[in-house]
Symmetry: C2
């Protein structure tokens, strides 16, 4: 929908195969995701919890709605709060679902595990938002090789972003703060959360490398 010709360094699907095929591939992959969850070797109730989690994340209240809001903001002057709500619905909901679905594979979301799910929710809220803020920053600072997509698109499309509203340096510090907050949220989980912690370190290093302090 940003009509970019590149993603991850490769031609985008609609450029290579046409718009109709791109739409159908999206539809088919969404169906395949639910089929995969429904076919897992796990009790029916666990699989249903996973299906609900993914469905909510990509729904009108999640990624699909966030993307619609994203399109509606183009060319408008908006407060930072609106951008943050949009980011939480869009990428934020997917990150949250990814983290929660990993947990739901092994651990029921019940009263006995309330503290665990609370920590994971705080982690994914901060990490998901940090990823979007970093994406906003790098669109303004990085080159095509780094991004794997065309840089400068946000400004060209007059899209309000965290970077355009806060300024690059403040956005950079905001992202670093969010990554730190995410780390603090999972600190009590100890070694169980090591891989979640590694993701934060990678995002942190990526930001420092591609958007060094002015």
């Amino acid at each position: 929908m940003d009509n970019d010709v590149l993603r991850r360094g490769f031609p985008t699907v609609h450029v290579k195969f046409g718009e109709a095929t791109a739409i159908l591939v999206g539809d088919a992959l969404q169906a395949h995701a639910f089929l995969t969850l429904a076919s897992l070797d796990a009790p029916g109730d666990n699989r249903i919890a996973l299906v609900r989690e993914l469905a909510q994340a990509v729904s009108a209240e999640g990624a699909a709605g966030g993307q619609a809001m994203d399109l509606s903001l183009v060319g408008k002057h908006v407060e930072l709060d609106r951008i943050l709500v949009m980011h939480r619905m869009k990428c934020g909901a997917l990150v949250r679902a990814s983290v929660r679905m990993g947990a739901l594979c092994g651990i029921a979301e019940d009263a006995a595990h309330a503290a665990l799910y609370c920590a994971l929710d705080r982690y994914s809220a901060c990490f998901g938002l940090a990823l979007q803020v970093i994406d906003d920053i790098l669109d303004a600072t990085a080159d095509t090789a780094t991004l794997g997509k065309t840089p400068g698109k946000d400004a060209a499309a007059r899209k309000p972003t965290c970077a355009s509203i806060m300024g690059l340096q403040a956005a950079r510090q905001f992202a670093l703060d969010l990554l730190r907050d995410a780390g603090e949220a999972i600190a009590p989980l100890g070694p169980r959360a090591e891989r979640l912690s590694q993701l934060l370190q990678r995002a942190n290093a990526y930001l420092l490398k591609h958007a060094p302090c002015a």
Copy 2:
């Protein structure tokens, strides 16, 4: 994807709200369908069977793949078999899923109910195909008020259809035969299948009214 400006007598979503919104509404409604199934008041295993059924029906092997095949056939000379395969994947898979999901809400698909599911599969294969053949016929014979969409699109788009390959009268007889076969398939089920039988009668009457014998 047929770029029609009308569906069921109303402006199509992409005409009224733009293409991006139309795509997102499709994505969001698909997610909402799975969320609805996952939230039913039924045992987890039943809900998982329903999710699998719907996911398969709209997958690359079902409606999404059938629609892609539909687009790929435009302007080509093809055998009737290819059209039938496409129809079975597209509308056929959705009709089959609708019928099976109704059954799955109350009756497990196990050895004890093999005859029931076999009858329902035969019914839905014949009925789903009949609906597509009738759609092909009416695109060539009916007006906008009857169709709720623009007639003559298939010929204008040089789309091969059952009507264009078999001829209108043969296609009409084919649809009537399919509706009769569907009725025979569920006859052994007795009054339990009354509503399925009513659907056949409605389709039959609709065809006779809007595509009378030449």
